[in-house]
């Protein structure tokens, strides 16, 4: 399994007690019963976990992702741009 997705599943499990098997690429945050404030909390934990900074979006509707896969893509994109040397998560710190 994708290591980013696995870590994301752990965040959802720890923060909201959502079973890991429910957090699949095609699920939306709404499907998981989460609202915009919950998403903020998830952002915070993602930043801690992946040592990235999720920039504040200026356009209406925030980051515009709907599905878990969108979050995974965003994380991997930010890791690439913010850690060009290529580390993936805290293991290499």
């Amino acid at each position: 399994m994708n290591i980013t997705l696995a870590k994301l599943q752990s965040i959802f499990a720890k923060k909201f007690s959502i079973p890991k098997e429910s957090v699949i690429p095609d699920t939306s945050l709404e499907d998981l019963g989460l609202d915009s404030l919950d998403a903020l909390e998830v952002f915070f934990d993602i930043e801690e976990e992946f040592h990235i900074c999720i920039p504040q979006e200026r356009e209406e509707g925030g980051h515009g992702f709907h599905k878990v896969q969108d979050i995974v893509d965003m994380i991997e994109r930010l890791i690439k741009s913010q850690h060009p040397a290529g580390f993936l998560g805290e293991e290499k710190l």
């Binding site: 007690s17 404030l37 909390e41 930043e47």
Partner: protein, 408 residues
């Protein structure tokens, strides 16, 4: 004329979390003040306090806990107990006529402190995303409204040690004057933090610890008093318009008949006899009774020399020669000073005294201060008291005085 009755009581208090425990401990003269050790960023701090036995995991999910400051957690738990006690259920129509008034002196002290430690000591870039929603002072009242769907007026009162007496008094007026039928009113305070203790220390008003018996450190009206002891907790009452309460067959503790509110307008901490006396006189006038009819006073009684002597003089000013005949107790000797929750806890105790015909004592009063020469119910509670009217006093830094009068 719309009348206002008390149909539910609930508290998370140093002296117990059920009405029976609270009143039994107080009647037994049992102090709940004990040593506390607080973790600070560079070590620990030790003192005494009236701390509550409260574990949020018994009340909220782990996810929810991190989004609620301790003040909100305590307020929700006390409101839940009061609403269960009143056995009230809000129909979709009744919800528009039901409001929430909560008092707090400091607000979310624990979350503020944790946030500053995080920001200044660990990582200057990051605070939790919901920090604002956790620290906002109206969070307790808002969460109570959300929990029970109460869509009427929702206000938070802050005037230091009188905050929750004012919240109850203003809630009473909402019903009396026809704006609402039901009010959830009370106060909450959770400020036993490293920073707040240090700030109180700096003011030199905290009691010295009695080395032989730390629980006896708070001694209102006593010659050997040395200051106040901080406490934490929440207390909430359910107020209802009397006819509606009777119609639904509610258990009625008593009727809230008078509220007086004034400000000394003279000094930020030093209380004034005139200001306090005026609040008592206004409450008596609101109740439409003469001073002769008051059968019990739950005093503000903080155990600072300024408060105790001033309050004694103010009571004498209002009640004249009869002042010596009224039993007065300072229950802070046993639960400490809950600041923004003090007035609500003491009003709850006053209602229990009325309902049960029993007067809790002022504990640790072995050496009366000659300047405090009234009947403070020293050390021994009194059973079998037929009290018709009782008064609860709350006086605050900032000069606000709030007095509530209830009838059995």
């Amino acid at each position: 004329m719309r009348r206002v009755v008390v149909t539910g009581l609930g508290a998370i208090s140093p002296t117990g979390n059920t009405l029976d425990d609270i009143f039994a401990n107080l009647m037994a003269g049992k102090s709940s003040i004990s040593p506390v050790t607080i973790d600070g960023p560079r070590g620990t701090y030790s003192n005494i306090a009236g701390a509550v036995a409260f574990d949020p995991v018994h009340y909220f999910s782990p996810q929810k806990i991190s989004t609620l400051d301790r003040t909100t957690q305590l307020a929700l738990a006390a409101a839940s107990a009061a609403i269960a006690d009143s056995n009230i259920h809000f129909s979709s129509e009744a919800r528009f006529q039901a409001g929430v008034y909560i008092g707090t002196g400091v607000g979310a002290a624990n979350t503020w402190e944790q946030s500053y430690v995080q920001l200044l000591d660990r990582d200057p870039n990051r605070l939790r995303p919901l920090t604002i929603l956790t620290v906002m002072t109206n969070a307790p009242a808002s969460h109570i409204a959300m929990e029970y769907g109460l869509e009427g007026p929702n206000l938070t009162f802050t005037c230091a040690c009188a905050s929750s007496a004012v919240a109850i008094g203003e809630a009473y007026r909402q019903i009396k004057h026809g704006y609402t039928d039901t009010m959830i009113a009370g106060g909450t305070e959770a400020m036993l933090t490293f920073g707040l203790f240090k700030a109180w220390d700096a003011m030199r008003v905290l009691a010295l610890i009695d080395e032989e018996d730390p629980s006896a450190s708070c001694r209102p009206f006593s010659k050997n008093r040395s200051g106040l002891v901080l406490g934490e907790g929440a207390s909430v009452v359910v107020l209802e318009e009397r006819e509606r309460a009777v119609a639904r067959g509610a258990k009625i503790y008593g009727e809230l008949v008078g509220y007086g509110s004034s400000n000394d307008a003279s000094h930020i901490t030093k209380p004034s006899v005139e200001g306090q006396a005026r609040a008592m006189t206004l409450a008596l006038a609101d109740a439409g009774i003469s001073p002769d009819e008051i059968g019990y006073i739950n005093a503000h009684g903080t155990a600072t020399s300024l408060n105790d002597v001033t309050e004694t003089l103010a009571i004498k000013h209002v009640f004249g020669e009869r002042a010596t005949a009224i039993p007065i107790s300072a229950t802070k000797s046993m639960h400490g000073h809950l600041l923004g929750a003090a007035g609500a806890l003491e009003f709850l105790i006053t209602m229990l005294a009325l309902q049960r015909g029993a007067i809790p004592p002022t504990a640790h009063l072995d050496q009366p201060d000659p300047a405090c020469d009234l009947d403070y119910v020293a050390n021994q509670g009194r059973q079998g008291q037929n009290i018709r009217y009782a008064m609860s006093n709350s006086f605050a830094f900032g000069g606000t005085n709030a007095v509530l009068i209830a009838r059995s």
